[in-house]
Symmetry: C2
Subunit: 301 residues, 2 copies
């Protein structure tokens, strides 16, 4: 099956001017700038998806999109990707093709051609280990997780919670917003993508930046799926929004001048101001003028 799969794969890859040597040699050769960005995340059947329930093309999409989201969270542009496809012994050729079809569709959409990787038959669960390689023009334009300063405004893209119902398989990495911010030359002080829950990832960002955050609970954008989920769970939709995982939205911090510039740049951006950085470590909300800690649950995939 491996030989047949690889023949099919080679026939489905498009040439790219940025990729002088793609799949088929010992390694790929890609044209690059002077700063490269590298992200590697794996997704595993039974942990990050359920192959008995989910569509294989969606699984392929997710494997790439979680990595594109990481590249977006650095303010960078993807250039190429690699896939180690570790197929269970019961995986069919058609399933493997569907996985790669889904990945290639997303790769094409975000101009991130598949340039290499590996195909292994294993006794274990289907596993997709993807690396995305990207670029950024200047170190000072990298959106680190540790650059937030006291007084910075916190923005979130999209809406939160209930991702397990649908979005974790279908989300789009926020690369359009990255492009917009780059084109408008807006400075972002810190960023991360939300994979372990809004509250938890914001806490991670504040800790890395040696600051704290106060958020306005009423401003948190709650997804319809968080509301749906809350009807059959013992949690409120806000609790789902704060602590569900795999939203793959971005958290961004900007100083007040850049924050105003961002808001003025396009009123139709799906971004919401959710709070501000403060000196006191931790993630807080205001209640009767008092800081109360936001409960952070550790998200388990």
């Amino acid at each position: 099956m491996e030989a047949e799969f690889l023949r099919w794969l080679y026939g489905n890859l498009k040439a790219s001017a940025n990729v002088p040597i793609g799949i088929g040699d010992d390694a790929a050769v890609v044209r690059s700038g002077h700063l490269s960005v590298l992200a590697a995340d794996a997704i595993v059947d039974g942990v990050h998806f359920q192959s008995e329930v989910h569509r294989f093309d969606q699984i392929g999409h997710k494997a790439l999109a979680v990595n594109l989201s990481d590249v977006a969270a650095m303010g960078a542009t993807p250039t190429a990707c690699l896939l180690s496809l570790i197929a269970g012994t019961d995986q069919t050729l058609d399933q493997c093709k569907n996985i790669v079809d889904g990945l290639l569709r997303t790769a094409s959409k975000y101009r991130c051609p598949l340039v290499g990787g590996d195909f292994v038959k294993s006794p274990g669960p289907l596993t997709l280990a993807v690396t995305v390689y990207g670029e950024i023009d200047d170190l000072k334009n990298v959106w680190t997780i540790s650059g937030a300063r006291v007084g910075d405004i916190i923005f979130a893209t999209g809406s939160f919670g209930g991702s397990i119902l649908r979005k974790h398989l279908e989300f789009e990495p926020r690369l359009d917003l990255v492009n917009h911010i780059r084109q408008q030359q807006i400075q972002v002080s810190a960023a991360t993508d939300v994979s372990d829950g809004l509250a938890g990832d914001l806490l991670r960002l504040t800790n890395a930046s040696s600051v704290g955050a106060v958020i306005d609970l009423e401003s948190i954008p709650i997804s319809d799926d968080a509301i749906t989920l809350s009807k059959s769970s013992d949690k409120s939709s806000l609790q789902h929004a704060l602590n569900d995982g795999e939203d793959f939205e971005l958290l961004l911090t900007l100083d007040q001048t850049q924050a105003e510039k961002l808001i003025r740049s396009n009123p139709n951006l799906t971004i919401t101001r959710i709070g501000q950085m403060i000196e006191k470590p931790g993630v807080w909300y205001l209640d009767n003028d008092c800081l109360n800690p936001v409960a952070v649950e550790s998200y388990e995939h």
Copy 2:
């Protein structure tokens, strides 16, 4: 365990001037030249190693070294690596530390710092998906698999066969030879690393180059382990050398002028002239002045 493992890992990473942003952010940022080389190979318990028999630090070494071997086969220099460590539910913290210790030792030896990746607990077998990122100065210096020409001399590094007894876990990627050839400005027309067996990978190289190869069977360097293995198998040591997998040696082709330059450059190189490229497709040996096909077995890990 994940948090404890990551704390340990962060404490064991060294800063590198080429890595402005390493592990701990959404993605790594690495200084790069204008041509990047990317290789991604995964190894899986029960397929590429046996965790019940092999040492965990050797498994970590192998996960990186198979990728370094791919980068060497392009004539490139490694810059950084990423590891997706997918641990079985029964994996202990100490085992994970030993894996990463082995990988980091090899990363340090070849100046290829670990800059990112992922840690997943999975119900399946231990899986290590590594990506190596490297550099090459010029496209004309890339050793493709398709550049061999009729008349070129074929060289092999090291010796072949019986790798399963020991070498597949302990081999060193041939990056020293790459450095030597670069420093001496010797031109290599084609190269690949031998992972699926000498005969099979040579056939792959000849097919990619649209030529054939005639090899001198008496010149094939046979490893001691191939001899050991032949005593308890129904194959000769030569058959083991030609078709055993996972030698991770390099096959190189050079035109006659460059071949002489290579031999003169250092008489102590562990390389052997094993044959020559010919027009007739396939891999052959001479017997009584007649071309006979070399039997190519497809190697299964």
